[in-house]
């Protein structure tokens, strides 16, 4: 329970960190977009100021209203000229067209100075923007990088802890698990075998009774056989159990073969001695043998897997 809680807490923090990291990425992208937008705007402003300066010069030289119109158009696009205080400069130029005063240098020089100053301001703004952007970008990148390291370390740590708390199944462990399932099967087999042995004992008692009642029954040899089989069967099962507990493949294999042979012998003995009197016992015993057969199929499958593993190893 403690292990699971610890893992859940780690996973929860990792998820929080991943969300934070993702947001940081988004902010970084947003910052980049904002920067590019602002940069474009400033560049456009510089371009407009230059274009206005060119047209101003043309207007000064040729005094054609077309250049003034161009200046007005460009000024309308510019953010700087949206401020009312600068409309005066345009008005001065307008005034010149109404009352032409060729070479009115003050108006032109004021305008040129204004344009030069604004261009300088805008360029400074661009520089500052670039510096600030770089600073923020570096800071955020560093944060993202740091978070990435924490997330990666966290994931590795999490994987390690999961492996420590709930080990991953390797091929070797799979085989061990097979041994364990084999042990489970053996338990079932043993349980059924115990019942089976019990029935043999009953049968043995019945034979004794039978022998007493009908002296002509020639079963003395069978009594000995039954006793032998019961003993063999018990020791065979004990060896199988020992082999399974100690994961001794050779021992399991040896006694598994033994177990199969013994089962056949017992089956034969039952068939040979079939009589009306003992019919019920045989019937019950055969049922048990059928159960045993099913378990044997399971056992064979698992032993086959273990054999394959041994060969590959």
């Amino acid at each position: 329970m403690v292990k699971k809680t610890l893992l859940i807490i780690i996973i929860f923090f990792l998820i929080l960190l991943v969300i934070k990291n993702y947001k940081e990425y988004q902010r970084l992208n947003f910052l980049n977009e904002e920067y590019l937008k602002e940069k474009d705007k400033i560049n456009e402003e510089i371009f407009l100021l230059k274009e206005i300066a060119v047209n101003l010069e043309k207007f000064r030289l040729f005094f054609e209203p077309i250049y003034l119109e161009e200046i007005k158009k460009l000024a309308a696009k510019s953010e700087i000229f949206k401020n009312n205080t600068y409309t005066m400069l345009i008005n001065n130029l307008n005034y010149l067209t109404v009352k032409p005063k060729k070479n009115d240098l003050i108006v032109f020089s004021n305008f040129r100075m204004f344009l030069a100053e604004k261009e300088r301001e805008v360029r400074n703004k661009l520089n500052n923007l670039e510096i600030n952007y770089k600073k923020i970008k570096d800071r955020r990148k560093e944060r993202v990088y740091r978070e990435n390291i924490i997330i990666t370390s966290g994931l590795i740590g999490l994987l390690f802890l999961v492996n420590v708390f709930f080990p991953f199944k390797t091929k070797n462990e799979k085989i061990f698990n097979n041994y364990f399932s084999l042990l489970e099967v053996l338990k079932i087999v043993k349980e059924k075998s115990d019942k089976y042995l019990e029935k043999i004992t009953n049968w043995e008692n019945k034979i004794i009774e039978f022998k007493k009642a009908w002296e002509h029954f020639s079963g003395s040899q069978d009594l000995e056989n039954i006793d032998n089989y019961r003993k063999n069967f018990t020791y065979c099962l004990l060896n199988l159990q020992l082999g399974l507990l100690q994961k001794d493949y050779l021992l399991i294999n040896k006694y598994f073969i033994n177990f199969q042979q013994m089962k056949e012998k017992i089956l034969n003995l039952l068939i040979q001695n079939k009589s009306q009197y003992l019919n019920n016992y045989f019937k019950e015993s055969e049922e048990v043998i059928n159960f045993l057969k099913e378990d044997l199929i399971k056992l064979e499958k698992i032993i086959g897997e273990i054999k394959n593993y041994e060969i590959k190893k």
């Binding site: 003993k231 063999n232 020791y235 004990l238 060896n239 159990q241 020992l242 507990l245 100690q246 001794d248 021992l251």
Partner: protein, 152 residues
């Protein structure tokens, strides 16, 4: 001393039963012929060959001085890297799981036949008290020790 859970072989010696840890016990053999050895202690009942290696057979019934004759001779093959020996018992009844809490220290004079020195604890299972025999102590017995080494 056991920690957690261990498996024990419950064997009959004489009228009683004892528990042996399955550690080192590699196989249970029955219906085997043991060849007797001359001029050895009576509990070394002979020699037996397994996997082309010869080893002595020690009769636990006789070792503990239990008068009953051990006719059945069920052999427990005890093998480690350096030791190979067969322990003869009357019969092997079962292999049981024993939890730590089911093992009790042996009280003084628990058995008149088995010295306390060879009993490492008592297993309490379903109203039965089964002494755990320390095989290592038996094998360290000065008369047995020279016979237990694996023949090269």
């Amino acid at each position: 001393m056991i920690i957690g859970k261990s498996n024990f072989l419950i064997c009959g010696i004489g009228e009683g039963e004892v528990a042996l840890s399955i550690y080192g016990i590699k196989e249970i053999l029955w219906d085997v012929k043991v060849y007797s050895l001359p001029q050895v202690s009576d509990y070394i009942i002979g020699i037996f060959a397994d996997d082309k290696k010869l080893a002595v057979v020690i009769d636990l019934v006789k070792f503990f001085g239990i008068s009953e004759e051990n006719k059945e001779r069920i052999l427990l093959k005890f093998k480690t890297d350096e030791i190979l020996v067969f322990l003869a018992v009357k019969d092997v009844k079962e292999i049981i799981d024993v939890k730590e809490e089911e093992v009790y220290p042996c009280p003084p004079m628990f058995s008149s036949l088995i010295p306390n020195y060879y009993i490492s604890g008592l297993i309490k299972k379903e109203e039965r008290f089964i002494p755990i025999i320390d095989v290592a102590k038996i094998l360290a017995h000065e008369e047995i020790k020279p016979y237990t080494m694996i023949s090269k």
